[in-house]
């Protein structure tokens, strides 16, 4: 039975706190596409993204009782998904990060990013190593500060900054390559 329609955030929260299967399903139906997009940004592939999405929603349903209504429910769910993705790669020993304090200021071409579609940007981001990609997603898209990233990933703030610089450098190189191909083509 597919539940159509949107429920109020408070109604969903209370229903999920009471473990109401109907509202649990409604919550999933309401947020699964949004959260799957988050998972795709952090995952190497769609299979990993599905695993993260499944694990993330299970955590949401089990921890919904801890949601105190401070901030949006969607943001709370998104944070759980991000943490689930990080845990996923850390558990699989694929989340290796070199602690380098060297941070060079790398500037992205804003015009190029503006002209690119979301899928093109995601495609470029997903080509980066997991560590760079994670820091870039957390900082550039999720809006985390380096302090928050350092706490989340259990790294130093300097490492977070250097990882972000390297990520931006890789991304800018790819954007340049795309532009060059476009000019040549």
């Amino acid at each position: 039975m597919r539940i159509v329609g949107r429920y109020a955030e408070s109604e969903l929260v209370e229903g999920c706190k009471n473990e109401d299967p109907r509202l649990q399903r409604a919550l999933y139906e309401q947020y699964n596409r949004l959260m799957y997009a988050v998972c795709l940004r952090y995952a190497d592939n769609s299979d990993d993204a599905q695993d993260i999405l499944q694990e993330g929603f299970i955590r949401v349903f089990r921890k919904v009782g801890t949601f105190r209504g401070q901030g949006s429910f969607e943001g709370w769910i998104r944070r759980i998904m991000v943490h689930t993705a990080i845990e996923h790669y850390r558990r699989n020993s694929r989340f290796m990060m070199v602690d380098v304090d060297e941070a060079r200021d790398v500037k992205l071409d804003a015009d190029a990013l503006t002209s690119m579609s979301r899928d093109e940007i995601i495609n470029l981001v997903n080509q980066m190593p997991v560590g760079y990609r994670t820091v870039f997603n957390l900082y550039a898209i999720e809006g985390y500060t380096h302090q928050e990233i350092s706490v989340t990933l259990n790294i130093s703030v300097g490492t977070s900054k250097s990882q972000l610089s390297r990520a931006k450098k890789i991304l800018q190189d790819k954007i340049d390559n795309l532009n060059r191909r476009a000019i040549q083509g």
Binding site: Q50, I58, R118, A140, G143
Partner: protein
């Protein structure tokens, strides 16, 4: 720095409402994880409780004496198993009370039957008092009419046990059978296991002597024998029982006699045929 903030804002705006469709089976997996199928537990404790209770009850039952014989008088339906009335041959009145010469045969029969009265049957007789049957018979209304009189009576005796609803005895089955010839029909017949033949004979002789002395102790006789004895006493009063059908269409005087033995009340209706001279 401003450029970096612009890029962050640009990317956040681009991905703020980014959506992608996950496979449809994700929810089924989530649901299965949230509600794992519970293994069906085999609940054994009810069976164990029942078995333990049965064991305890059996133990208590065995502790308190085990199986006990309980009086199981046959119901009225059970009378079908007894001798039909038609098959009972009326005995001559002289034989209704055993004579001294019959003591041996009576004792022998009692020996064969054994002393089957037990403590659980006795209460049926405990309220019965010894009655002087001879006195009863002398005071009974026996009319000697000048008219041709033929004592033709039919037996309408019945034994009503006042206290006990169990009324297995139908004296019409043995209207005039002598006491010593009656076979006790009590189902829970307890065989004698202690008395020797000589002791049994002595005991029976003593009982017969009490009967002759009109000091009948009902506790010493079985229910059937008591009823039969009372029936015989009535026969002395009202004459020999005859077929009731023989009285049909004839002018007969009906008299009703009652004979009480403690809780037992035996009635007999006598028809005295009268003819006009």
């Amino acid at each position: 720095m401003e450029n970096q903030n612009d890029i962050r804002g640009l990317l956040q705006e681009k991905f703020q409402h980014h959506e992608a469709n996950p496979p449809r089976d994700i929810w089924a997996q989530i649901e299965a994880d949230l509600n794992p199928p519970q293994k069906k537990k085999v609940v054994l404790w009810p069976y164990m409780a029942v078995a333990a209770s049965a064991l305890v009850l059996f133990g208590l039952w065995a502790l308190l004496g085990g199986p006990q014989d309980t009086p199981n008088f046959p119901s009225n339906n059970g009378m079908a198993e007894t001798t039909p009335a038609e098959n009972v041959q009326p005995q001559p009145q002289e034989e209704s009370i055993p004579s001294a010469t019959e003591e041996n045969s009576f004792a022998a029969q009692q020996e064969e039957e054994g002393d089957f009265r037990n403590d659980e049957i006795k209460p049926l007789y405990q309220q019965a008092s010894t009655r002087n049957f001879a006195q009863q018979s002398t005071t009974a209304p026996v009319e000697q009419s000048a008219v041709q009189e033929e004592n033709q009576e039919t037996i309408n005796s019945s034994a009503a046990i006042a206290l006990n609803p169990i009324s297995p005895i139908n004296p019409t089955l043995y209207p005039d059978a002598p006491v010593h010839q009656l076979e006790d029909k009590l189902p829970n017949k307890v065989e004698s296991n202690s008395s020797t033949a000589a002791e049994a004979a002595t005991a029976n002789t003593s009982r017969l002597q009490k009967v002759k002395d009109n000091k009948l102790d009902l506790n010493e006789f079985s229910l059937q024998n008591v009823v039969a004895f009372a029936s015989n006493e009535l026969s002395k009063i009202a004459g020999s029982p005859l077929d009731y059908e023989h009285q049909q269409g004839q002018n007969a005087e009906r008299k009703r006699y009652e004979f009480e033995l403690g809780d037992f009340k035996i009635t007999r209706t006598s028809f005295k045929k009268t003819t006009n001279q």
